[in-house]
């Protein structure tokens, strides 16, 4: 079952070949065996998971199962789940048992899915290597001396190591796609507003978006079907009629025939994505994937995204600015960590926050505080917001000429643990390809497209126009029908 697709698992559950309880126990046992080394999960709770599994089995027996009923799903520890520790990878919330459910958790509960556990992550989703977690780094299952990517590194690792059949993640500047690429799985960040942010601990509110991580585009589509949807409790949630992202995956691109299912698809390729800084092994794998798409009938269009190089500087103003404010609520008053000793109120605040936050989080709070402070707002914050618009306009122009944009997800394959922790700027530049869609609010995904140095996975980055998730998944699905990169599993797993 560990290598099975969600569809196959659902079929097995439906045919009563396996119960949800058995399935959940198998995954829990596997986590028990492997997690000590991989550190993908912060929390598992056998009793809670099995209680949900039993309910799911009863529901299946009643005959009113939904597609994911009984399937255990791992959730990034950024999603509040009632009764579960929701730490966000931080000491600050290391004692926070959430009193409520995030919208995403409610949706999975409603679908009858089982919460398998809460996955490790960079602290407050700030990081690209999963090394900033209070709970220690996650290891890359392809080579445990390497990072899995971040911030949703625990979820990516759990999928790659077959510790979970599906997982949730969140993506502010690449936090689903970069670990998906580095860990060799498929991950999608939807259009901003598709997935409710209610109950998702905020990092940078105008960029944060929940999304799905799985072994294949098909699995991701099934997960997205559950996650997406309007939620009145999030003022940025989009009111759109429900969509079935999985229903039409196998159908060819509009007007194409079965033998060339992607005929008519125009793939935009930007010169800027293949410039200096892109490792040769990654470039080669991505070019290979583009050739495969051409074999499937797609055509290539050269596009320009001239301002994309400004996305990293703009992002490192906007995201810390919003984060500095979002993280002000962690003050030791109503929940979470409070410093054990302090002189007075001010000292309580300062010590609680100094002790409760890790180095990277503090660094970003300081950047954000500075760029919003008196006298710097215009030069930094407003400037970054203006560049943000230019970047969104670049995409709008590009999408007048192509249907999807493809390129590398990350400039390199996974890097060794510890190799970039002391150099924030190098770490930040990892996100150069993944940041622009967040700034514009566009959907984007990463899918496995080969292997580079050290036999580490390479991810193909696919960016779509607003609300084009179904088309993106269809295109990815056809690629995955023609290739087997996504079926490869790490050795010894």
């Amino acid at each position: 079952m560990f290598n099975a697709s969600l569809k196959e698992i659902a079929a097995a559950l439906g045919a009563r070949k396996i119960s949800s309880v058995d399935l959940t126990e198998q995954f829990l046992d596997r986590i028990g065996r492997l997690n000590g080394d991989l550190n993908a999960f912060i929390t598992v709770d056998r009793a809670k998971s099995l209680a949900q599994a039993r309910e799911a089995d009863a529901r299946i027996a009643r005959g009113d199962a939904a597609p994911l009923t009984g399937i255990p799903i791992a959730h990034k520890d950024i999603f509040c789940a009632r009764g579960w520790l929701t730490s966000c990878g931080s000491k600050m919330l290391s004692n926070f048992v959430s009193p409520y459910d995030a919208h995403v958790i409610e949706q999975f509960n409603r679908a009858g899915a089982v919460i398998l556990g809460k996955t490790n992550m960079d602290e407050f989703a700030m990081g690209s290597s999963n090394e900033t977690s209070f709970y220690g780094p996650v290891k890359n299952p392809w080579d445990r001396a390497f990072v899995p990517g971040g911030s949703s590194g625990g979820s990516a690792c759990a999928i790659a190591a077959r510790l979970a059949p599906g997982a949730t993640g969140t993506d502010t500047g690449g936090s689903i796609r970069q670990p998906a690429a580095l860990s060799g799985i498929t991950g999608l960040k939807p259009t901003y507003g598709r997935v409710s942010r209610y109950g998702m601990v905020a990092f940078a509110s105008s960029l944060d978006q929940g999304g799905a991580m799985g072994k294949s585009a098909e699995d991701v589509a099934l997960l997205l079907n559950v996650m997406a949807g309007f939620d009145a409790r999030d003022s940025t949630s989009l009111e759109r009629s429900p969509e079935d992202f999985a229903g039409a995956l196998a159908q060819p691109w509009a007007g194409a025939a079965a033998e060339q299912p992607l005929a008519g698809l125009r793939i935009g390729v930007a010169r800027e994505h293949f410039g200096a800084g892109l490792a040769a092994d990654v470039a080669e794998a991505v070019r290979g994937a583009l050739a495969e798409f051409e074999r499937l009938g797609a055509s290539r269009v050269d596009i320009e995204l001239p301002r994309s190089e400004l996305s990293v500087p703009a992002y490192y103003v906007i995201a810390p600015a919003e984060a500095s404010s979002n993280l002000s609520r962690f003050d030791g008053v109503r929940y979470g960590y409070r410093a054990p000793e302090y002189r007075d109120l001010l000292d309580m605040y300062c010590k609680t926050r100094a002790q409760g936050f890790g180095a990277e989080v503090k660094r970003r709070i300081l950047i954000g505080t500075y760029v919003l402070s008196h006298g710097y707002y215009d030069a930094y914050y407003l400037k970054a917001q203006r560049i943000r618009r230019l970047i969104a306009e670049d995409f709008a122009r590009a999408f007048s000429r192509c249907d999807l944009i493809m390129g590398p997800t990350s400039p390199t394959v996974a890097f060794p643990l510890g190799s970039k922790v002391s150099d924030p700027v190098q770490m930040y530049l990892n996100d150069i390809y993944t940041i622009p869609p967040n700034l514009a609010g566009l959907p984007a995904m990463s899918l496995p497209c080969g292997f580079g140095a050290g036999n580490l996975p390479v991810g193909l980055h696919v960016v779509g126009d607003y609300f084009s998730e179904a088309r993106m998944l269809k295109v990815a699905h056809h690629f995955q029908r023609a290739t087997d990169w996504h079926l490869r599993a790490p050795k010894g797993i």
Partner: protein, 501 residues
Amino acid sequence: MEWETVIGLEVHAQLSTASKIFSGASTQFGAPPNAQACAVDIALPGVLPVANRGAVERAIRFGLAVNGMSAHNINRRSVFARKNYFYPDLPKGYQISQYELPVVLGGTINIVLRDGEKAVRLTRAHLEEDAGKSLHEDFHGMSGIDLNRAGTPLLEIVSEPDMRSAEEAVAYARALHSLVRWIDICDGNMQEGSFRCDANVSVRPKGAQALGTRREIKNLNSFRFLQQAIEFEARWQIETIQDGGTIVQATVLFDPDTGETRAMRTKEDAHDYRYFPDPDLPPLVVTEATIAEIRASMPELPEQRRRRYMSEFGLSAYDAALLTADRELGEHFEEVVRHSLKEGEPLAGADFKLCANWVINEVSAKLNEENLPAAKAGVGGDTLGHILRRLREGAINAKTAKDLFSEFWSEARESAYARRGGDPRRVDALIESRGLKQMSDEGALEAIVDQVLGANAKSVEEYRSGKQKAFNALIGQAMKATGGKGNPARISEILRRKLAS
């Protein structure tokens, strides 16, 4: 040197919504601590704000009301920003407040003073959320935080520095207080903090153009304190300057016990609130359709009503202002006018001045005495109007009218104002049954006057030696002799005639 005080007010009016501005928790006053602080109000990780239509509509009502119903001062697009600072009663570490683009920009409040009218310009009015409360009772040396008030909708109404005395500031605050209740956006309960004033006060030599350095007096929750605080503060500033000192910009608190203002403990950091647009809340867009709908639901405004009372009813500006100080009082007055009309008499024939005097002197006085809203007046407008009708018809005299009014009011008081006292039919029934009908019969009155003159030779002598007071005493005696029912005008005339002969 003559000094001039310059005052601008910032008023926080709590909007009368059922739920909070960004959450579905109740705004009701007086709940047990934190019972009305929901996940959003206590800022649990991951929660998000959703704006309350009721709060937005109330802000628009206010904007229309201070701009003669024109919507030119309503920003079609306004922005909620975050004001960042740490305080235990501020759960998110930021307050959501409109900053650069408020929902209302500009407007006017007209105030009426004894010596004329004055227009006070409004700078802006913006929506924001209230903070919680720190309770300083001692919990082993710690403070307790109650977040029930956190997230309560406020409209912060900022005036230009257009006021020149404490009286003007109080008149402005009263006019604003009346207006927000008039248009149903705030209950105006000052004890519960629903209407709080901050006063920016500075002084300058009379005739100077430049403004002096201002100090802001925070959280004045009664008109009396507002008056006292401004008076003290202005005097203190003038004395400080005269003594060679300078005014340093500061936030000060008013101590009602000493009647003095004192500077607050200065925060160690210069405030740097790091305002920026709240990414959780897209811009607030107000459509023409929304404005039209709200405009259609608005009552006649105090200003319009005041002008109508002056032009149609011929009332003085001062009386008109008193009668429009609150919406129900004006409605009560108009009911009195309608019922004071004689059979078939058109509205234009009414004695507006008489009705106004009764409402201002009798009804208002009793309402104030009993601390009641006009809607709870002990005697209904129909009843009082009917009494005044009988008075105008000459059926009763003013004293009888007052006696009836007082008697009816006492009945209402006995019911704790659950019921009104009297009714028009009982007015007539009592006049009949108690024989209260005014004595206007010439012969009978002459006989009574003769009798009074005979029995009060001393007063007659005094009157003749020039003491006017003695005349009043004689009238009093004559009225007494009629059992209070005599027509005072007739008695006076007869008396005057007889004394002259």
